[in-house]
């Protein structure tokens, strides 16, 4: 997959999926990054003020570390990660070998509900790429 350049149309479609499926649900901020730490796209609810660029760099590093840990225990990969805080939580999920979907959300959303939607979003994004 060549993700180096994503067409404007593809990005708009991805943004729509993210808005429809996650932001509307009450997720504060959704970012798609690549494993090098670049932001592919970022969507938020208009209120959250995260430094998404630093976030992407750290998230890519974090995920790469966890990937290395997976290999150490004989796993192919840990395809998702979840960090729980008092007021906000972060959920990481792998879209494919190169891309990562990150959702930041508060306590009003249940993790299970978010995960169901994340699975759906990832499926839709994969379809979008396969169409190309």
């Amino acid at each position: 997959m060549n993700y180096g350049i994503v067409s404007q149309e593809q990005l708009e479609q991805i943004d729509t999926i993210l808005s429809e499926k996650l932001i509307k649900l009450g997720v504060d901020c959704v970012i798609i990054i690549d494993m090098a730490g670049n932001i592919i796209t970022a969507k938020d609810n208009g209120e959250s003020k995260y430094d998404v660029y630093s976030f992407a760099a750290l998230a890519a590093g974090n995920f790469a570390t966890v990937d290395a840990m997976a290999k150490l225990v004989g796993e192919q990969e840990f395809s998702l990660l979840f960090h729980k805080g008092q007021d906000s939580n972060i959920h990481f999920s792998k879209i494919d070998d190169e891309l990562l979907l990150i959702s930041m959300f508060g306590k009003e959303i249940s993790l299970g509900f978010l995960r169901l939607n994340v699975v759906d979003v990832i499926e839709k994004i994969r379809q979008l790429w396969n169409k190309k």
């Binding site: 350049i5 994503v6 404007q8 990005l11 090098a36 670049n38 932001i39 796209t41 590093g61 290395a68």
Partner: protein, 201 residues
């Protein structure tokens, strides 16, 4: 690989400062962070140990303005220099667009520079990149130590050791005083942006 967002017209460029332990990679970034504070919207991120050694990486993003209507976002990274952290260095090199190799000009560090450069060559190969193709700038750091009577390697020796085959641009520098830090940065940004443009055309 740089990421180009056609919708928002943003190009993200990843530049990594690479080199042996304690050669001054983080100091380079700290100087840039201090001097160009106005252009930098976010905080510099440093993942370090209690002893102030880089554990994972430092990260400094800044905006360079526009080229042909595209916003250029430069992302500077450093790697941990300590020998034992090669796995981490490899992770940071993922998707790199340009590299500054910071060599320690102190005479006693001669061998460490060479070893570090060889390892960079190997690490890039694991991503199917080549040290001969990727935009690269050499920085011979700590030249200010000469005034303090500490033996440092003459530039000719460093050139012979590190740059005889690569033949990339090089600068003597002193990251702590800021001497040639900006020049190194400008050079690597321009080489990298040109290389990205070439790949696209």
């Amino acid at each position: 690989m740089s990421f180009i967002n056609l919708k928002d017209k943003v190009v993200q460029v990843k530049i990594v400062y690479y080199g042996p332990g304690r050669c001054g990679k983080t100091t380079n970034l700290e100087y840039i962070n201090k001097t160009y504070r106005k252009q930098i919207v976010s905080e510099m991120v440093s993942l370090k140990t209690h002893g102030d050694r880089t554990l994972f990486f430092d990260f400094l993003p800044f905006d360079m303005g526009k080229i042909k209507g595209y916003d250029i976002k430069i992302q500077l990274y450093t790697v941990p220099g300590q020998v034992k952290y090669n796995a981490t260095r490899k992770l940071v090199l993922r998707g790199v667009d340009g590299i500054v190799f910071v060599a320690d000009a102190m005479a006693k560090q001669r061998e460490k520079n060479i070893r570090s450069l060889n390892q960079l060559h190997e690490n890039l190969q694991s991503y199917k990149e080549s040290i001969f193709r990727i935009p690269l700038v050499m920085q011979y750091n700590k030249v200010d130590l000469k005034e303090h009577g500490i033996p440092i390697l003459p530039t000719e020796v460093l050139q012979k050791d590190l740059n005889s085959r690569l033949k990339v641009p090089y600068y003597e520098a002193s990251a702590i005083t800021g001497y040639n830090v900006a020049l190194t940065l400008k050079k690597i940004i321009s080489s990298t942006v040109i290389s990205i443009q070439k790949k696209l055309l």
